[in-house]
Every structure is written in C-alpha cells, then in structure tokens.
Symmetry: C2
Subunit: 303 residues, 2 copies
C-alpha cells in the first residue's frame, strides 16, 4: 500500500503542478507545502487517520485526538515551523456517543494548549467508521526541507526509533496495554516541535520519521543528490534488544514508523545523537566493520 | 443528524475556546475561521465528503473532485475571501483504480485552475469507503460574517434555490442523470467566488446556503440580534413548480441544501435578487398577504 501511495502522490504532483511566486514548496516535494502570505513563510500540512488503519485496539479517545493533532504537528516540526492553527474533520460512526466525541476533542485540545496551537475550525459528519482528518498551519523563519543535505554533514536523530512498532507488535501478540514496552510512543507520541524550531536555525536538511528511517533518509539522499552512510556502531538498539533479537531490533530501528522523531543533517549537533554522515554519491548505506549494506526504500505500515 | 452536528459543534467551540490576538473569528462562529498572518486576514475552512453520504449514485469521479473543492471554496466565498491554497486527503477503497483516482484529481484541478487556486498538498490512504476531506485557505480584504446584519438591510440571494435537492429526488425516483432537471446543480455546483469578493465590499452579513436557506437566515438573525422577514411574493419558484407542486417547491426553496448560493444583507444589491428585509426583533418569518409564518431552523440532508 505504501508503494502505491508514493506512486499516487507522484501522479498528484504532476496533475497539480503550478508555478506561482507565492508557492515556495508544493505538494509532494516535502512533508508539507510552504507558501508566502503577507511576507511570512506559511507551512501547510494535512494528515488523515482512521480507526481500522491507525488506532490500535484499546486506544482511548483522548489518545485518538492527541494523535490526529500530533501527526500534523510532526510535519510542521519537520519544517522547523512554529504551529499556529489547526482544523479537523471528524466522521462519527454508530457507537460513538457525545462523551466519546468530547474525549477525542479533549485530547486534541490538551496537546494544542501545550504548543499554543489554536484549534479554529472543524467539520463533523456521520459514517460507518471513525475518521479524523487534520490540517495544520505554521510559520517558519528559515526554510529547511529534505532537499539540501551537504556533503560533510553529520546525520542526527532526535530520539530512539522502533518503540512504537515494537509496542504495537506486543499488543498484537496478546499483551495488555499496561504490559507493553513503550505505551507513550504508541498512544501519545510527542511531536518534536521545540527541537524542530531550534534545528531549523542550522540544519541543512530535515524530515520526520513518519514511515521509517530508511524512507526518510532515502528521500533526503535522493532530493539532495547525495549519499548517506550510517555507522552501525552508532545505532542505539539496547532499548529494543531488551525485548527482541538483534536482527529484529535492527529491522525495527531502520524500517518501522510511528516514532515522530526528526532526522536532520547539519555541520553541528544541537539535539539527539549522530548516526552517520553525508558523502558524495547516491543511495543510503550502512557500514558495519568491513561490510557495507544498502538500506532500501521501504517501511512497514503502522498497523 | 444535522441537529446532532450543531450540538456537537457547540460543544467543540467550548472545548477549543481561545483568546488570542491573531484569531479574529474562531471555530463554530462562522462558515470559516479568520486569523491574522503577516497583516492579512487569512480565512481557513475544512469540509469532509464521503461516498455514502455525499456522492449521488452515478456521479463521475471528476465531479467528486470538483465537489470536494467546491464545498470548501463556497465557505471562502461566504466570507468574501479570495481562495489561494487547497489541500486534500483521500481515502481510497477497493475498486478505485489509479485511473479513477486521477480523474478525481483532474476534476479538482479543473475547478482550481478556474479560480487560480493552488492545490499544494494532500494525503492518501486506504480504507473501506471513499473519503475526500478538503482544506482551503483564502485572503479577505474586508471581513463579512453572519453576525452583522443591520435593521433596514435588504436580504438578497445570488441565485435560485432547491435545484440540487429536486434533481437528487428525481434521481432517487428512478430518472437517469440525463433526465433530471438541474444536473449541474447536483453534480458540479459552482462556488460563488467572484460574487463573494464583490459582495464583501458592501454586505453587512453574508453566508452560503450549505444546509438550507432557513438555517442560513436563522444563523444570521440569531448572531446579528435581528429579525428577518421574507416576502413570499418575491420568492422565485417557477423553476421548481415546473416539476413539483407549489407546496413542495416552497419546501425545497426554504429547507433544501446543496445549491452553493450566497445569501447576504446589505443596504444595496449588487448581485441576485431581493427576498426580504431585516427588521427589529428575532427569528425568521415569511409574510404572505396578511399571514406571517415562522421559518424554523431546519434543513434536510443532501442525500
């Protein structure tokens, strides 16, 4: 499905191609669009969640509201934008009463308040499945995209990866939500807003890890015309090998999504830890002793 | 459903209540939110459509794309805003192939080009039903809302009402799409963008007719603390009585939605025709000879 999505996004980019002075970054080129309004760099992004694909069983309504906002704020963070306004649409199905609805909104508003985001609009309708679409608007001082990584940059991550997918798989294997390893990563992931704002001051390229580190790095490498080489010895895997094999841990770290961390390339580190470097060439690779392996463009879906 | 929706929107407005200098009009108060960015009045709106509730049988994919954009542009028109940018989310179900998807986007882009709207972003996922959410951003010179109708204003409509619902009911009763009275009103309604831009220069209040004239006028009366009196003799019904009884025609004109026309109050008319006046008091009424009837806050859903 993920591959079909990328193919369709490419088609969409062609259909909607537009040259206009106020459009700095358009659809399909980055995590979000960037347009000029009243002299400001305005970042626009949208993400759609629905129950069967995106909400693990047992998720509380507050967490659904949190996630619908968080997934959009993460896209703004990836552009180093300060989030300003949010709008949502909700499709309510049978069995969702007014209290459940209010709890979704409470979760959304709690996260909104934390980052001073104003929820200024919404649309409510009724259908067979719970859907929450979100739209977020932010303002960026300096524009950072996936497209400007420089040879000689270090590659940095703001936090550990694989925690959300590990937790999800534990849930699938029969564990209760109190028993899984990283419930916060799965149910209330934290968008890296403050980190994104700081990193935008010096990063050459940046993106969030919505699908997988492998996909994010391949996008940066491709759009920047560079190669990225990860150093196996730098990858932190202990938080995963505590629960799974080393092989599985590496798979989760490289190819799982849902952790909402940022990956950036820069001449300096201001958050997180180094995992590799930007070199001449193409593609993404991992160096382990004498061996070098290609990191493919793939992820696996969150649910 | 419509009444539950209004109740939930009220709850949402309380949960998301916020006082901030950059928020001129917030959620639930109007057709769209209006915020200040870089000195501009930026109008933000979102609307969600899905197959079972919003797309009549036999609708072409291009028309679905048209409608997803049109419904959002109509909200911008209602605020007298020039539409600038659009983002969408699409949930694709089994049976929707790449060609069908592209035809949806083609329909969207055709309408976008007509009004110089840039489609700058989107999100694609997969589920059990076709969903299209839209988010539109526009810029308004002068802010017109539902809240400022003045005693002595005339009440004007930009076009005829009841055509979409009449056509839909003909479709339900077994007519083919070539045989229904007003296919364009049903399948490719035209948002009143240019009219909205002109009307915003002098209208005291304005809104679009998304649900029904009755609901739109009741919202204006309530938010402006005035009463609105329609003159039965001014209501154009011939385009409906050609097909249905006078009683049914009046019901369609007052209580049906889907026609995307604007209703406005002003000291002068610059588009459309007069249907009544703004007076002191409360509620919405219709004068017919010596009789005066209350126009209730109700509509009936599009499908």
């Amino acid at each position: 499905m993920r591959m079909r999505e990328f193919k369709l996004i490419e088609k969409a980019s062609k259909i909607f191609a537009v040259e206009r002075d106020d459009i700095l970054i358009a659809a399909g080129e980055h995590d979000a669009a960037i347009v000029k309004i009243g002299g400001k760099n305005v970042v626009l992004t949208t993400d759609n969640l629905h129950e069967k694909a995106d909400f693990p069983e047992g998720m509380f309504p507050e967490e659904m509201g949190h996630m619908a906002l968080a997934v959009n704020l993460s896209d703004l963070a990836a552009c180093g934008a300060k989030p300003m306004h949010f709008l949502y649409t909700i499709t309510i199905r049978d069995g969702i009463d007014d209290e459940f609805f209010e709890r979704i909104l409470d979760g959304m508003q709690k996260l909104a308040k934390k980052y001073d985001v104003a929820v200024v609009g919404g649309d409510i309708d009724f259908g067979d499945e719970l859907y929450i679409s979100g739209f977020a608007l932010g303002v960026a001082q300096r524009i950072v995209t996936q497209a400007n990584a420089k040879v000689g940059d270090g590659v940095y991550l703001t936090g550990l990866l694989g925690k959300a997918q590990l937790s999800l798989e534990q849930l699938f294997s029969g564990k209760k939500r109190e028993e899984i390893a990283y419930p916060q990563s799965l149910f209330t992931p934290e968008p890296r807003i403050n980190e994104g704002l700081e990193l935008a001051k010096h990063a050459n390229s940046m993106t969030d890890i919505s699908d997988s580190l492998a996909i994010s790095l391949n996008l940066i490498a491709e759009k920047s015309n560079v190669s990225i080489v990860l150093d196996y010895d730098l990858l932190p895997l202990d938080h995963l090998t505590e629960f799974v094999s080393l092989h599985k841990a590496l798979e989760l770290f490289l190819y799982a999504g849902g952790d909402y961390e940022l990956v950036y390339t820069s001449k300096k580190k201001s958050y997180g830890f180094e995992i590799g470097e930007v070199v001449e060439g193409e593609g993404v690779w991992m160096k382990k002793g004498d061996k070098i392996d290609k990191i493919e463009f793939r992820g696996y879906s969150h649910l």
